[in-house]
């Protein structure tokens, strides 16, 4: 079953930045996944990194280390598998 949960969503200025972020965060074994940029953040087409709310500090730190430019950090309600 699915349920709505609050998630941390990081947006990036370009698709290649988002892809680089995915690669870097996975290398760092950080939980999360690449998703299409939710419409509630922006109507633009793009990719975003979606992770748990509690990961905010860790992911910001990791982004700094990997020179990943985060455009915005958002909290969004998304459907997820229970």
């Amino acid at each position: 079953m699915r349920e709505r949960v609050k998630r941390l969503v990081l947006s990036f200025s370009t698709t290649t930045q988002a892809m680089a972020a995915e690669q870097w965060f996975q290398r760092k074994n950080l939980p999360g996944r690449l998703i299409p940029l939710p419409g509630s953040i922006s109507a633009e087409c793009g990719l975003a990194w979606c992770t748990e709310i509690e990961q905010k500090r860790t992911v910001e730190q990791a982004a700094k280390e990997g020179a990943i430019q985060i455009q915005g950090i958002h909290e969004v309600m998304l459907y997820e598998r229970k």
Binding site: R2, R33, L34, I35, P36, L47, L78, Y79, E80, R81
Partner: protein
């Protein structure tokens, strides 16, 4: 006095229509006891009760059995009847039957790496729809998506749990040597692939 309505198995908005009819014929204080099999119907009956100023209570009786009791408070001639009750997600039962067709493990033409990212995003976006499709069909290299090691497996499992049929072409599984690797849904043949699409109101093919 009590009126009983067994609306289990009825598509929305039939339970509401039957209940409204019973309320219209009911006397003040009369209880209308309605059996339904889903929470959407329960919510719609609650809205009906509110619009008719009727008392409302419900209890879950079983896995797919809910009993809603509405007590008529005003007879029709004295009630300010609000005819339009906005029904919750009624379209789930009566809306378009959408079938998604994934004939490739990539989305669109061009760079393979991008195509694979896009298809992941596409399947994820399906899970975020308020009204989910009735089926997702996989054929040709699309069959890789419903097999072990697929990057969209979790999303497909979510869809299946929500009642979406996940159907993969048997010929394709055989051709790619994936027969033992199917990880979600059922194997279908060409007749079922054709039949599912013929019965659809909308076919979504990225």
């Amino acid at each position: 006095m009590e009126t009983k309505i067994d609306a289990r198995g009825m598509a929305c908005p039939k339970p509401v229509i039957l209940t409204k009819k019973a309320m219209d014929n009911g006397r003040k204080g009369e209880e209308i006891c309605v059996l339904v099999d889903n929470t959407i119907a329960v919510e719609n009956l609650r809205k009906l009760a509110a619009s008719q100023k009727a008392d409302y209570k419900f209890r879950k009786k079983g896995e797919k059995e809910y009993e809603v009791i509405l007590t008529v408070q005003q007879e029709t001639d004295e009630a300010k009847v609000q005819e339009t009750v906005e029904l919750e997600n009624c379209s789930i039962k009566t809306g378009k039957k959408t079938v998604v067709v994934l004939s490739s493990d990539k989305m669109g033409e061009g760079e393979e790496k991008l195509g694979k990212i896009l298809i992941k995003g596409f399947v994820y976006a399906l899970t975020q729809l308020e009204q989910l499709p009735s089926a997702v069909l996989f054929y040709n290299s699309g069959a890789f998506l419903s097999c072990e090691d697929s990057p969209v497996l979790e999303d497909l499992k979510l869809l299946e749990e929500e009642g979406v049929e996940i159907c993969t072409c048997g010929t394709c599984l055989d051709f790619y040597g994936l027969k033992e690797k199917l990880a979600v849904g059922n194997v279908v043949n060409m007749y079922q692939i054709v039949q599912t699409q013929v019965q659809a109101d909308l076919i979504l093919k990225p």
